[in-house]
Assembly symmetry: C2
């Protein structure tokens, strides 16, 4: 293993879900925005935006959508937006039509721009001694979230980042061993349950040893469990909401 400050922090990544009652400084925020803006972007189209949510009422509403008490609480809440609106406006004001902006292909490029920026910002935050957690939960009710943030068509709030000064030191959560994730030339189609046995016991030990929210669980039990079992929720509105936003239409 190669070590340096950056990599050591990356290998020590834990999602932080408890923050001190201290907001980021203007300088910290600007640094995170600069890092976001210097992230790789597909075809130089720069199709994402960030909203820093400070309004307590809006924070409260997003917390309700996410159903996680740390969302919009201590620390700062950033919402990363898949943004095809800005480029649509440019084309419009230059007298052009929307071209490919409504396609699945260009939407996915914008999703990539947005998601790459989220990770880059989280790495920067952790390098400063801050902590954070990426919030997929903001999409628990996508139509409501668009309303709460008063967003126009051709945008889609994609991921949140709750970031701040850590008020916890969670244990490192064990990840799948590399021989089940990274392959040389050939993707193995013959996974056997047995191969997950050692990893399962590491995960079980992790849950048993952690300070809060102890439980008996394994990786394969979670994959086989309720979160991935058949059920419908407002999360499945995503298809309709994207269509209504004019995105990923074909």
């Amino acid at each position: 293993m190669i070590h340096n400050d950056t990599i050591d922090k990356q290998l020590a990544h834990r999602s932080i879900r408890a923050f001190k009652d201290q907001s980021l400084t203007k300088e910290e925020l600007t640094t995170l925005y600069q890092v976001a803006s210097h992230t790789s972007t597909s075809n130089f189209h720069q199709q994402f935006s960030i909203i820093h949510v400070t309004d307590p009422k809006v924070r409260e509403k997003i917390r309700q959508i996410s159903n996680q008490d740390y969302v919009g609480a201590n620390g700062d809440l950033l919402i990363f937006i898949v943004d095809l609106y800005r480029n649509q406006q440019i084309r419009k004001q230059m007298g052009n039509d929307d071209g490919r902006l409504h396609t699945m292909d260009v939407f996915m490029e914008a999703v990539e721009d947005t998601t790459l920026a989220v990770q880059n910002v989280l790495v920067a935050a952790e390098s400063m001694g801050l902590g954070g957690v990426i919030l997929g939960s903001i999409k628990n009710d996508p139509a409501q979230l668009i309303k709460v943030l008063d967003l126009p068509k051709m945008t889609m709030p994609w991921l949140g980042l709750q970031v701040g000064h850590p008020d916890q030191e969670p244990q490192l959560k064990p990840r799948l061993p590399l021989d089940l994730v990274a392959f040389e030339d050939h993707y193995p189609k013959d996974f056997k349950l047995d191969q997950f046995k050692d990893y399962d016991s590491h995960v079980t030990q992790y849950y048993d040893l952690r300070d809060t929210n102890k439980r008996i669980d394994s990786f394969t039990n979670q994959i086989n469990g309720p979160k991935l079992n058949d059920q419908m929720s407002k999360r499945d509105d995503i298809n309709e909401v994207l269509f209504n936003q004019g995105l990923a239409m074909g």
Copy 2:
């Protein structure tokens, strides 16, 4: 602005498209894989995989799909896979059905897992003095790429990363000013073309001053230009290919 080694490298990010004739060491590769595996993952589902492509014939075929001469040439080629197959196999062998694995919602979570990992790996590579470029171009012919990589259903090759020892020092490409990208509470729906004028001239100057492939161009001209104009290509097969792979079906 806050500065440290990590952030300074992030702010100095340039995509590298020319590499020395030197492959990554086993230790470098393993470090990158470890960083990938420690990236945030939605619901702990760990739904991505990496294929390190070393077979010259496969590299050649991916280069043809990407239509970029540096793909699969000097350096190393990593393909990041949206992977719902591994978890499908776990559920199957535990006697369960596929549950939510075919939904758009879970597919998007896997896309997020995959894309976050790509950025984390690129940051790690750059921290070691390596360089890289994220390849959306591998999806120029998604059906063919799946065939070339011999991937099963429930997987989708998503982004490539060509990584290695830089053999060029490109200029920093100017990004949109923060006041057009990062907002406090309210997303501005009233972008005016005028607001992009200064930035356009920075971009024009960048193209004029750079060493190779000089051209006269601006940001708004690119957004208004051929890449986003109406046209169909094999990139638009993505919807059909995802459906055939059993992914993002509703």
